[in-house]
């Protein structure tokens, strides 16, 4: 790879990292605002205009709060926990294609940090590690509520990963590739996977809620039962990192859902638009770049809609109980996912047979 390419890549990675952090930061603000609006309130509006500096205030406060490690906690692991949670959360956005290709100086720049041909598996691998942050933190706190939260987190994440993976397999059967770029490219225009995989998407959505520990699956940190669960003993910025990691996870989950099921950066009539632009501007490069940037815009609109949905659900539904959660995961979602695989397989065969 040439050094210029490397430079672009480096810039891109930094930008994506920044955007991830920014979105996660402001997710906290939007969560509070959305909650307030849903509940007929106005929400934070004192810190800066319309409360826009609220996340910065929170961050500033958390940074300068006394850093406290409980006396009976396992010190090394206590610090390691939020670190892992944060690290793992930020890792996963690397393989998501936020846009198609830009043409700059005759170079093709793909708006994706790393293209690996096992992108989906990468995300899975990284997400499956996320639970360590919660488990280690919860265990190291040496607090029974934390431990219960950690145990709930572990069993919940493992259980729902299976259903999640199975629901994904149907998508992979259709696309025939593990590469996210490939999957995104296949959904060009309005040919989104959601039209073929509604059931799979539903299962994936439910599992995404469970994996990010959001209501109705927020058992690991359920306020009413476990007083915050795994992060009961955490204060200051370590708590901030846990909360941050949760919002990054929401962002990543939204991105993955947008990529896998909602056509990533594709939007309807993009080819018509591009053709028209080529005519209008008389430049393939400009047309391509405009469409690509529009695509990025669409991608983020989709992501934001999903984030909104996460929050909307959070402020509407009651949460499950532990055994009901397990029952839902193992007895309903996994069979449904297998059924979905069979249906997809049958569909593919039928299509091959007919056409």
């Amino acid at each position: 790879m040439e050094s210029v390419d490397l430079l672009y890549k480096a810039i891109y990675i930094l930008v994506i990292f920044g955007i991830t952090l920014l979105i996660a930061t402001y997710s906290t603000y939007f969560e509070r605002k959305i909650a307030a609006f849903i509940q007929d309130r106005v929400g934070p509006n004192r810190a800066g205009p319309a409360g826009l500096l609220q996340p910065l205030a929170d961050a500033g406060k958390l940074f300068f709060k006394e850093d406290f490690i409980p006396a009976r906690a396992n010190k090394a692991l206590f610090i390691l926990g939020p670190g892992i949670a944060m690290l793992v959360a930020t890792m996963s956005s690397a393989v998501i294609p936020y846009g198609d290709m830009l043409l700059v100086d005759g170079r093709e720049i793909y708006l994706q940090a790393i293209e690996v041909n096992i992108g989906v598996l990468y995300i899975f691998g990284v997400v499956s590690l996320g639970v360590y942050g919660l488990m280690i933190g919860g265990w190291a706190s040496n607090n029974k509520f934390s431990l219960l939260g950690a145990i709930r987190a572990a069993s919940q994440n493992i259980s729902y990963e299976i259903a999640m993976g199975l629901s994904l397999i149907a998508v992979l059967m259709m696309t025939g590739s593990l590469s996210l770029r490939e999957i995104a490219a296949q959904q060009a225009g309005f040919n989104w996977n959601i039209w073929y995989q509604p059931l799979g998407f539903l299962i994936f959505l439910v599992c995404a809620f469970a994996e990010t520990n959001r209501t109705p699956f927020d058992l690991p940190e359920s306020e009413a039962e476990l007083i915050g669960g795994y992060h009961t003993e955490y204060g200051s910025m370590k708590l901030g990192m846990y909360l941050f990691a949760e919002y990054i996870n929401i962002f990543v989950a939204s991105s993955v859902m947008a990529t896998l099921y909602f056509g990533a950066y594709n939007f309807p009539f993009m080819f018509e638009l591009e053709a028209w632009l080529v005519d209008a501007t008389d430049s393939v490069v400009t047309a391509n770049n405009i469409v690509t940037l529009l695509g990025v815009g669409f991608m983020f609109v989709k992501i934001f809609l999903f984030i909104f949905f996460f929050m909307w659900v959070r402020w509407t539904l009651p949460r499950f109980r532990y055994d009901q959660l397990m029952k839902l995961g193992w007895k309903i979602l996994i069979p449904l996912a297998i059924l979905n695989i069979l249906l997809t397989g049958g569909g593919i065969l039928l299509k091959d047979y007919l056409f």
């Binding site: 402020w315 509407t316 539904l317 109980r321």
Partner: protein
């Protein structure tokens, strides 16, 4: 705890194991979990030391008294009329019921009959209080199951109820409403208007709240068969009110021993079947509708007349008369100093409080203060059964059971 209690615990544990087909001395590590007293779900302040097997509660040892305020002792040192503010602070979710229940008990002792209008005003206020009590309980049940939003929707309605209180007595929560012998003032036109508005607006909000939870499977699953208690056990535990009715017994003081003209109103007593959390939720929901019905009837048929009894020895004369008439001034002084002639006697009066039969047992020796005032506090009685109700359930069940019992710490500890 005494040592004999330890053995009792152990046998209970063994009993539990036997009941559930477990080996008696299984090598199973039980964890001890201290639920409260600052746990968020305990709202007021209760402590429970739970013995847990994983997420299952094997045994619980409750501790209460964290806000014991010695109501009964204070009552022995205060003149009768100064006890009303104390009753406010017992079940603070439905203060007017406490106020008026106490007033009625004292009126029974003094032999005062209150005119119909005052009785109807009392009914309206008491039923408003019941609504505010039930809506806190049911919406908190939502909060504890994770659905926070419905709580805030109905809280807005509670604000309207508080506005009505404020218009009637000048305070929101600890109302100190009414006096011995009636109300301290008539319903103002504004108050009547507010009640009217409330009757129009509230049904929509309540229906919406019901819609959010009642048929949601997550909620049904969370609450069905959780914290169930049979009618027999409930009676043995002395349950009354919605919690007893959820178990299927239609005992309601308003119907069985009508007071304050409750016999004039048409309403039904909702009962459940199993006495579980879902039943309690439904019964309270339905009671809110019934209360609305009662308020509507009382509001429509509000009789004309005086808002207080004609009892100059016990009911403060109007302010204007105090300034001008000597006789009124003397009565005024006597009442405020607590020198009014209180007959010797003993009296028990109970009302259907927000949580059940709220009883006032007064012994008077003719002095300025009650000789003994005992409160029959329904919450004190419910909470006793809590241990039995949560055994064998999960931690999450225990929390919902607590919310659905609507144990108010102020009333529990007195």
């Amino acid at each position: 705890m005494a040592t004999e209690n330890k053995t009792a615990e152990l046998t209970e544990l063994e009993q539990f194991r036997k009941d559930h087909g477990l080996a008696l001395h299984e090598e199973r590590q039980l964890t001890t979990l201290n639920l409260g007293p600052t746990h968020p779900a305990t709202h007021g302040i209760f402590q429970n030391i739970l013995q847990m097997d994983g997420e299952v509660i094997v045994d619980a040892v409750p501790t209460i008294g964290y806000i014991h305020r010695a109501f009964e002792k204070i009552a022995e040192r205060r003149p009768f009329y100064q006890i009303t503010p104390l009753t406010d602070r017992m079940n603070y979710c439905s203060s007017p019921i406490n106020n008026m229940g106490y007033h009625m008990a004292v009126e029974k002792l003094l032999g005062i009959t209150v005119p119909k209008r005052a009785q109807y005003i009392r009914v309206i206020m008491m039923e408003l209080a019941r609504i505010s009590d039930h809506l806190i309980c049911n919406s908190i049940l939502g909060v504890d199951s994770g659905a926070f939003t419905g709580f805030l929707y109905v809280m807005q309605e509670r604000e309207h109820i508080y506005d009505i209180y404020e218009e009637v007595c000048g305070a929101r929560l600890t109302t100190n409403m009414g006096r011995i012998g009636g109300m301290e003032r008539d319903l103002s036109p504004k108050a009547l208007h507010m009640i009217d508005e409330f009757l129009k607006r509230f049904p929509k909000v309540w229906a919406e709240f019901e819609k959010m939870l009642t048929r949601n499977r997550i909620f049904i699953d969370r609450t069905t068969d959780v914290g169930a208690i049979s009618a027999e056990r409930a009676l043995s535990y002395g349950f009354t009110g919605p919690n007893l009715r959820a178990a299927g017994v239609d005992y309601d003081v308003r119907v069985m021993n009508p007071y304050s003209s409750y016999e004039d109103f048409e309403f039904e007593i909702p009962v459940g079947a199993k006495g579980d959390t879902y039943d309690r939720f439904l019964v309270r929901n339905e009671e809110v509708w019934q209360s609305l019905k009662i308020i509507e009837q009382a509001y429509k048929n509000l009789p004309e007349g005086s808002y207080h009894a004609d009892a100059p020895h016990y009911y403060l004369p109007p302010k204007q008369e105090v300034y001008t008439s000597m006789e009124a001034l003397i009565y005024h002084f006597k009442i405020v100093m607590g020198e009014a002639d209180i007959p010797v006697g003993e009296v028990y009066h109970s009302v259907e409080g927000g949580n059940g039969e709220l009883g006032f047992y007064i012994i008077s020796d003719g002095g300025r203060t009650p000789y003994r005032l005992h409160f029959r506090r329904p919450c004190f009685i419910y909470y006793q059964a809590y241990t039995e109700m949560i055994k064998g359930g999960q931690l999450a069940d225990a929390i919902l059971t607590l919310s659905s019992l609507n144990v108010i710490a102020g009333e529990l500890d007195a």
